[in-house]
Every structure is written in structure tokens, then in C-alpha cells.
Symmetry: C2
Subunit: 342 residues, 2 copies
């Protein structure tokens, strides 16, 4: 493995000049730069990351913390972040919390201290007071996705607004008996997104003078199966069934569609269903939904965090507390229509 010294020797300059030529930040004569670049190419040289980090205190590496990576939302956002980071010459190191409390402690109190990352992006993770303090001591800026974190920048989706949007779509079609399935508290993210979505649903009903019958509401596991069973209950009694359902996630909505079919109900003729997320498979199911533009949320977060670490002032990020909210956009497919005349 060639080091900077080898390049310097081959190019006939000092290591300082090599460093300057390759980083492109300081003044180097065109001639020297050419020689250095040729030598570096010949020796296949790239500066060692650890020496760079040690010397500069910067690692060009971003840590990403998420509770799972094997769920659709998280894997898509991860891909969005990663692609953007690579583009800018950053590495991504992944920390997933699915290993439980012990793993979480290890991540926040050991790995974090190794000064291996310039900043963290947390996705749907709410750091505890202890954890935030730990981050502050280590001087690592943090960007939160999917919920407010005090003292940190934050990028999130307007969950309430999105829930309202979905519900308003159903109301505008003429539905008055609108049900809702949200996640159970246990299966929820740490910021209770599904709860917020229901809040938007309730807001929309209220604004239109409608009320939510208790028997039109359900909570279910955040999965296809969970929503399948919940839907069978909600739609089971034809005399008292809602004519439309707003479901807290697309994945759950798939289960709802299958349940409706298995009950002999046609979607959308007998019952309208709208989800939320714009999952990859939603188009296949013809599911109307609210798009969150997840991949772009990821790349946006990556851009923001790079901005954060490249514009530190005295080691502190400038412009803290700037929260950006994304609106959702309504996507109408074939799972929603006017209510049946009864």
C-alpha cells in the first residue's frame, strides 16, 4: 500500500504539496498538481481515512440509527440516504436498534464515543435525555427524521396534515361513514406517527361536521395480518359498517383490501380504502394513498446533514432548531370511489 510519502517521492515534491494538491483546497501550481495527480494515479493512492480523521477531526462518515432496517419505510429511506452520501464522498455507518435495549445502550454509549462519525441521522428514534446529553458531550450533531427532537434539526412529514388529506378525499367523494385503523401503541414508532394520522382523520371529520362512530375505529398491529383481522371486524356487520376506511399505512391497507375481498365486498364499489406511504406495491393493488416521497426524504436528510457538518461554527452547528416539514400528496388510484347508494 502506497502512502503519501511514496507519492511525494515519485512526484518529486514534499508530502505537504501532495496533500494540498489532492485536497484541492490550497494553492498549488498547476505543474505540481499535475505531477502529483499522475503519481497518485500510478500508485493507486487514496489518503487513509484514519490518518485523515486523526489529523483533521473530520471523518466524512455519517451514522444512521433506525429501529429496523427490514421494514419497507426504513429500507427505502436508508437507500435514499446512502445514495446521496456516496455522491458527496461520505460513508454511511449503520446502527440498527432491533437488537433490543442492550444493543441500544452499546450504540449510544460505546460506539458513539469512538468519534467515528461526523453526525448522526436518527430515523423514527427518540433519543432519551441521557442519550442526547451523550451526543452533546461527544459534540456530534444530530438530525432527526420523523419527529421533533429538542435541540436538534429535524425533518419530518406533517402526519396530521396527511391524515386530514386522506380523510378529506373520502369526504369529498361523498362518504359520511368513514372508519379508521391505526397502529397499536406497542407496534408504533417512538413518535407515534400513526396516532398523529388518526388525529388528522378526526380533525377532518370534525371540520365537516361528521362524527366517528366507535365501532368504525380499530387499532391493529402494523402489518398486513393485523389490518386484515381488524378489517374483518369493522366490515363484518353489514348493517353498521363504514363505507370507507382510512388505514394508517399502505402495508396495512393491503391486508384491508384482502379482508374486504374475502368478505365478498368489492373495492371500491362497496367500500373505499385509502392508505398512507405510497408503498412500492401500492400501484399494483390500485391503492389510493398519501405519498410521503420516502426516498427523497432520505436524500434530503443526507443533504441537510452534510450541510450541518460542513458549516460548523466553533464546533457547533449553525441554524439549529430549524424544523422542516414535508407535506404529503394525495395519489388517487382505483381503491376509492363514491359510496354505494344504500
Amino acid at each position: 500500500m502506497a502512502g503519501i510519502e511514496d507519492v511525494a517521492k515519485l512526484a518529486g515534491v514534499s508530502t505537504a504539496t501532495v496533500s494540498r494538491a489532492l485536497s484541492g483546497k490550497n494553492s498549488v501550481s498547476a505543474k505540481a498538481k499535475a505531477k502529483v495527480e499522475a503519481a497518485a494515479r500510478e500508485l493507486n493512492y487514496t489518503a487513509s481515512a484514519s490518518a485523515y480523521t486523526l489529523a483533521t477531526g473530520r471523518s466524512r462518515n455519517i451514522g444512521v440509527v433506525m429501529p429496523f432496517v427490514d421494514r419497507w419505510f426504513f429500507s427505502v429511506i436508508l437507500e435514499g440516504i446512502e445514495t446521496e452520501l456516496i455522491e458527496h464522498g461520505y460513508d454511511l455507518t449503520l446502527y440498527n436498534l432491533s437488537g433490543g435495549a442492550d444493543q441500544r445502550r452499546k450504540i449510544f454509549f460505546e460506539f458513539l464515543n469512538r468519534k467515528r462519525v461526523d453526525a448522526f441521522i436518527t430515523v423514527a428514534v427518540k433519543p432519551s435525555e441521557d442519550e442526547l446529553q451523550q451526543l452533546a458531550i461527544a459534540g456530534i450533531p444530530i438530525l432527526g427524521l420523523g419527529g421533533p427532537i429538542s435541540g436538534a434539526r429535524t425533518v419530518s412529514v406533517d402526519e396530521i396534515g396527511a391524515g386530514r388529506l386522506a380523510t378529506e378525499h373520502l369526504i369529498s367523494l361523498g362518504h359520511t361513514k368513514i372508519g379508521n385503523i391505526s397502529g397499536t401503541p406497542a407496534s408504533e414508532m417512538e413518535f407515534h406517527q400513526p396516532n398523529l394520522r388518526r388525529q388528522g382523520y378526526l380533525d377532518a371529520l370534525k371540520a365537516s361536521g361528521l362524527t366517528a362512530h366507535d365501532s368504525w375505529l380499530a387499532e391493529a398491529d402494523f402489518t398486513i395480518a393485523g389490518a386484515y383481522h381488524a378489517t374483518k371486524q369493522l366490515l363484518g356487520d353489514p348493517r353498521n359498517a363504514p363505507s370507507a376506511l382510512f388505514i394508517a399505512s399502505d402495508e396495512m391497507a393491503f391486508g384491508a383490501i384482502m379482508a374486504a375481498k374475502d368478505l365478498g365486498l368489492r373495492v371500491p364499489q362497496d367500500v373505499s380504502i385509502i392508505g398512507m406511504d405510497d408503498h412500492d406495491m401500492s400501484e399494483f393493488f390500485g391503492l389510493s394513498t398519501i405519498s410521503q416521497n420516502v426516498r427523497q426524504q432520505g436524500s434530503n436528510a443526507a443533504k441537510t446533514v452534510i450541510d450541518l457538518v460542513e458549516n460548523l461554527k466553533d464546533g457547533q452547528p449553525v441554524n439549529v432548531e430549524q424544523n422542516r416539514e414535508w407535506p404529503g400528496t394525495l395519489i388517487v388510484r382505483s381503491s376509492t370511489a363514491r359510496p354505494p347508494r344504500s
Copy 2:
């Protein structure tokens, strides 16, 4: 941020002793060890990763390269790897190739050289000659998942055997008209797993003296939608339709089940369907399948790669060329049954 010197001062010993006490590898008196540990805890000290790497040449960091992260198989395997790595004190840095050839070149010819990782795990990626050479020069060991890579250790699933297993299950139920849907070449992984699965299917038929009618074979996009349309074709003509289908992936099999239902066919009474992977949702669909134990494949790969980097001899891994193959296991659910009497 406290450095090793601060800890040494507080504990009243030299930095060498601190290093030894904390790494636990060399002899330190019990008394000194206790003092150092107390001091480290008080100062909240963890050795800086970059200095450690610079001094030792080891980074305790594993690079993972995969073509996507937002597909079920990849995200699950990633989670398996990550959880195991954390357990052993390793970090994971993620490189995904979905950004195209340019990103790929950047990863293999720039990022890789930074000496930031001790080893690579590649998942369903077939490095080119150039890329392999690059890895060799950099002295980075590599563990391949999902296909053979010359000169590297490899962990893979016996795809042919798995395809045979699935087909034999259908044969043992009494089916003689067995169709198969595999991925299109374009949508395939770089090692052509789906092709291998079809190979196993053909082997099994042959062994039982059965033949595959051309009109029972199809290739489709590796998605629900792809298989949905292919299935509609295969089962569209009742007089010439197979009574059972072996589908190259569970995700595709979901599409097949829906297509069958939409054609008015009952699964399994009218048509049996078996997939492959044991996807999270397969239980919900009642899909019979071949389990690949994906998460465990991931954690197994992580263990193997740690073994690889911790047992280097003269910078070279020992035991190269050791290929481990996983068998699949048959999981029978409710999507397969005896063929209908016709």
C-alpha cells in the same frame, strides 16, 4: 473530549498502561486495572477509532456491498449482519450499488482504498476482475454471499437443491403438470439465482420421468406485478393449465396467488402454488415455500467474516476457498395440496 492522556493522569499511570488495561490483552496488575477503569468511566472515555486504526491497522469495521437495500431479501440479510457485528464490537458501513455504474466505480476504486474497512461482505454482487484485483492490492479480504467468487470465501444457498426440493414436494403430492415462473434475465441477480432454481425444477421433473410443457414455463419481472401477469397467462387456458406452480420467489408467488383468485381458481383446491424464500408475509398468505433462513445467513456471514479478519496470517486470510452451502428447508402451508381429480 477526554483523551488517553487524561485518563492516564487521573489514574496515575502511563498511557501505555491505560491502553493495556482497557484492551485487556496484556498483563496489568489488578490494582492498576481497577484505577484505569474507574478513571475511564469517570471521564467517559473510549479510544478514538481513527487513532486505534492508525496504530493497529485494524478498523473493527466491515463494509457491506449490495445492489439494493430496499428489497426484502437484502434488507433482512443486512439486519442479520448488522446485529451480529454490533454484538462483536464491529461497525458496519454500507455501500449500495443502486446508484449505477458510476457509483459502483467510486465505491470500488475510491472508498475502498481509504482503508476504512477490515473486510467486505458482498451480497449477490459479482466483482469484476478489475475489482477483485483492486481488493487484492488493498489487501482487503472478501466474503461473498449468494454466489461463488474465485479466490474468496463464500456462503451461499444451494439454489439448485432448493428448486428441486420445492418441485419434489409438488410431485410427491401427485402433481404431474407442474409449471414454473422464474425471473427475467434483466431482473436477475448477478449470479442468476432464479435460473439455478429453475435448473433444480427441471432436474426434479427429469428424475421423476416428467416433462415440462413449454406453455407451463414463464419468465417475469421479480415483483408481485410481474408474476401476477405471468400467472394469468399460464393459468388462463383451463384445458392446458398446469395444476401446480413453482415460483422463483415468495414475493412473486403472492402475485401468483392473487392472479389465481382473480381467475376464479381456488388455492390449493384448483391449483397448488409454492414459492421460495420464506418471506415475512408468507405465513399470512399461507404460502408453502422453501426457507432460506435469510436473517441467519446474514449473522452467519458476519461471524465468518470476523473469523476471517481475526485470523489473518501474514496479512492473508487462512482457509481461503472454503465455500459453505446452506440447504433450504421445506415449509408446507396451505397453498399446496393434491391435484384436483379431473
